[in-house]
């Protein structure tokens, strides 16, 4: 079963003015699409075919094509999902409580996240992860993610 490029949950221009429509078109339709097809090519005929993308990331070895394109596939799937034209505001409930407990306040979390993003040199991602029942912020290089062993905070990304 090959991985498929997921549809965006909203129109290309839905995230304007924060992210422009043209960027969304190219980012989704070219970059994410490229990771999807290259991932499928890299796992074809191997034991990874049929695994979930999370398992592929968790077991990523030194196969660069799987690491880069599997990571790229997972990362962008999450990315589109965590954004919305109706987004913004502040988290509440368990997440809100956990953020306050870990970072002092939502602003404190945003500062930590912004710092992780600003200090990642070159290509990469900044993350908010659940780790051992708590929250952690980290950054990773290229299309790596913290599901991969030895990478970042080794937690489970939620943002």
């Amino acid at each position: 079963m090959a991985f498929e490029l997921p549809n965006l949950p909203y129109a290309h221009d839905a995230l304007e003015p924060h992210i422009d429509a043209r960027t969304m078109e190219i980012h989704h339709g070219k970059h994410h699409a490229g990771y999807t097809s290259k991932l499928n090519a890299a796992i074809e005929g191997t034991s990874m075919e049929g695994q979930s993308i999370e398992d592929i990331c968790k077991n990523v070895g030194d196969n660069a094509a799987v690491r880069n394109n599997g990571g790229g596939y997972y990362n962008h799937c999450l990315f589109w999902e965590v954004m919305s034209p109706n987004g913004g505001g502040t988290p509440s409930g368990d997440l809100g409580d956990a953020i306050n407990a870990t970072f002092g306040s939502f602003d404190g979390f945003k500062d930590a996240f912004a710092k992780a993003a600003a200090t990642r040199f070159g290509s990469g991602w900044a993350w908010l992860c659940v780790k051992d029942g708590g929250l952690e912020v980290c950054s990773t290089a290229n299309q790596d993610n913290p599901l991969m062993s030895g990478v970042g905070c080794e937690g489970h990304p939620i943002l």
Binding site: I26, K30, A64, N68, F121, N142, Q143
Partner: protein, 271 residues
């Protein structure tokens, strides 16, 4: 070394000013001093000041040898403006902050131990060197097409790759997103022994002059920036198209000069 001249002027002015102050103080505090003593004190003071680490940091973005639209259509005008005036300038600004209070050395001299010096120097020093190198090896297509490898360079190319076309093919393959994933540079370098050319890819703003980056320290004679900021406005995800177009603005005369220099001096091209 425009920035070094300015620095020396600044230091000299400061030293002369200090000498003046020193003289004035000594005069008012103790007008019985002999003239010789006064001059000696002043001179010693000025020498001490001149020898102190520079206060102003003088790394600067070099001016381009062509206008911003000079490399069209291979590299578009807005990219040249932003790449030179923003990205390269940021590396230089950060480098100056990171080296504040330290003796200023030519940027080449920061390369060998860049990894040891830490991320601020590695990333911003590397960024400054790499971009100064990049601007200098390109020329408008009308000029570039009249250039060609020197006999020395051609011999090394044929020995190392078989032919110039083969070198370009391997270079292009090495620069493809699948081969150099994320941000980085692709280089043609002269090896340590000085008898062969090597094709090397490096991540982020590293370069093969830095100990610990390539198999051995090597001396770049040609380099290509494959960070997205180098090509995204015009080419978006189509990096191979950018690489192919970039060959049209490579100044092979300059690459040949680089080659002659690094072979003769067993050192990197200085900036």
């Amino acid at each position: 070394y425009k920035q070094h001249k300015d620095l020396n002027n600044t230091t000299m002015k400061f030293a002369l000013f200090a000498l003046f102050l020193g003289s004035a103080n000594a005069w008012s505090a103790n007008s019985g001093n002999s003239r010789r003593e006064l001059l000696q004190q002043g001179a010693a003071f000025a020498a001490a000041v001149a020898a102190a680490p520079s206060i102003a940091n003088g790394y600067a973005v070099p001016d381009l040898a062509y206008p911003f639209d000079g490399l069209e259509p291979s590299i578009d005008t807005p990219t040249m403006k932003i790449h030179h005036d923003k990205h390269h300038a940021t590396y230089v600004g950060n480098l100056n902050k990171a080296t504040e209070g330290k003796d200023e050395v030519p940027i080449l001299d920061l390369m060998a131990d860049a990894l040891e010096a830490g991320p601020a120097i590695r990333n911003n020093g590397g960024g400054h060197y790499n971009h100064a190198f990049f601007w200098s090896e390109m020329a408008p297509p009308g000029e570039a097409e009249k250039t060609k490898p020197s006999a020395q360079l051609e011999e090394l190319i044929n020995k190392s790759f078989g032919s110039l076309d083969e070198m370009k093919a391997q270079f292009s393959a090495r620069a493809a997103p699948g081969a150099l994933f994320g941000s980085g540079w692709v280089w043609i370098c002269v090896n340590q022994a000085g008898d062969e050319l090597k094709l090397v890819g490096t991540p982020n703003q590293d370069n093969p002059l830095m100990k610990g980056v390539a198999d051995e320290v090597m001396f770049p004679i040609l380099g290509l920036d494959v960070w997205e900021h180098a090509y995204y406005l015009k080419y978006q995800n189509r990096r191979p198209e950018y690489v192919s177009a970039w060959f049209n603005v490579v100044n092979w005369d300059k690459v040949s000069e680089n080659c002659a220099y690094v072979v003769e001096n067993h050192a990197g091209v200085p900036f």
